[in-house]
Symmetry: C2
Subunit: 276 residues, 2 copies
């Protein structure tokens, strides 16, 4: 900055910087260099911003001590906002044609919506940001948007497992898995360089049905010598028993029920294991 800024000018810049860099370690010197101000002044600025962020439930600015230290902004998602979001999604699930042939559920419009996607991703990231996740993994295609959005809030790479070999992937590791109601054996694979050994992985998907795909993903992650530390799906179906999956979260459980009066199937939803 060419003109020396005052406190209330600096806090505008500092506020926007933290919220656009969630879960990123930011050194005090970044701001003191940018403003050409003493670190003690910047510290006071940050204390002020921290107070407002906490009061308005935007999130917390954590301080990491030491030479390699700095500040990390961890977003929050208030209970009020959570309830509003889940109510809105459950309302939307009652609207339009949701039940597709084969008892699939149409969800794409919800995860395409930029505001809903951002809020769902933030809600998920806020829960998992304690876990020191190294990568967020999904399998193509419908869960990718949510995976990308969660990875942005956690500030880690998003990794997309492929269902079929692609010319462009280089060498891969693959596993077989059992998918769908027909118990068909398929292959999923991931480029060898896409996931570092030892990574702590969060699996994200849009829909959990039979669970076979999820078990395949967990096996594949193990093949990369990585550890699945969390599984979170947007919606799980309860109308069919699925394979036992350890410690997964779902934002919503849905069931297809027959409405006798209106002679049609409809979707009923309740909050999922994420909120237990």
């Amino acid at each position: 900055m060419s003109n020396k800024m005052k406190r209330n000018q600096r806090i505008v810049y500092i506020s926007q910087y933290f919220v656009t860099h969630p879960n990123e370690l930011i050194g005090l010197s970044y701001f003191s260099d940018y403003f050409n101000s003493a670190k003690s002044s910047i510290s006071e600025d940050i204390d002020f911003v921290r107070g407002i962020f906490e009061e308005t439930e935007i999130g917390v600015i954590e301080t990491i001590a030491g030479v390699q230290g700095g500040m990390i902004f961890k977003p929050a998602y208030s209970d009020v906002k959570t309830n509003e979001l889940m109510d809105e999604i459950r309302q939307k699930l009652t609207e339009g044609k949701r039940i597709l042939p084969g008892n699939y559920v149409y969800l794409a419009d919800l995860l395409q919506d930029p505001r809903l996607l951002d809020n769902i991703a933030k809600l998920i990231a806020v829960k998992y940001q304690k876990e020191e996740i190294d990568a967020v993994v999904t399998i193509e295609t419908k869960g990718i948007g949510l995976c990308v959005a969660v990875a942005k809030y956690l500030n880690v790479p998003h990794v997309v497992v492929r269902r079929s070999s692609s010319e462009m992937d280089g060498s891969t590791i693959s596993v077989n898995y059992v998918s769908g109601s027909h118990q068909r054996v398929s292959k999923m694979e991931l480029s060898k360089v896409s996931l570092k050994a030892g990574s702590k992985v969060l699996i994200i998907d849009d829909f959990l049905r039979n669970g076979g795909t999820m078990i395949g993903l967990m096996n594949l992650i193990e093949e990369f010598d990585c550890k699945t530390v969390g599984i979170c799906v947007f919606v799980e179906s309860t109308y069919r028993d699925h394979e036992p999956i350890p410690n997964y979260d779902s934002l919503l459980k849905v069931e297809i029920v027959y409405n006798k009066e209106e002679s049609r199937f409809e979707l009923q939803s309740e909050l999922g294991t994420f909120f237990e």
Copy 2:
């Protein structure tokens, strides 16, 4: 807010709110209700924030007059940041094994990186936010991350065209296209409800090679009675002539050249048509 906030407290909240809601119309009453403050005070707060946002090249807060009016934050991406970003990406393209069998280029690591992805997406969105885009469209799989990230900045839905029929999509519209060096005819399709007629569409993809896929996407968008108002790819290859595509942007052009001294093929890059 239960406690009445002062100006320098309100501007922290207002600053973070604008940058996390790019290209979204925000009424003055949102803030005046939130703070329980007079609209005149909020207007002064916003004028103050606007000044700092412009001085530090964060973006502009535009005012839309009228009953349906409000403010829209349009992010900026400075020339200095643009040069730094493109230099970093071009440097990364010289590192590691980039050239895959069939002259494909490995780019996944760049678009998986949350910081690079966010910056590339912001750079693209800043150029196209003037165009009143209604949806950002890509074809599975590798461009989806960029598509989602651009759509977030433009505050519009992201739409993913499928290469093969999926059980979960409901009724679809499909077109044939010619892909790859073998000139193979394939089918791409999109769920009928995914794109509203009359939408102005920005097409995003990671890599432009032969152009056949891009022409397929443009045809498909036309089938939906929508208009392609922009095409932007991360990287285009110049080592092969591609189909004539009207008015597309590429961030980078790459060429595979043989390095005689080191007896190996390597990637050379230059800035693409995006910067012309």
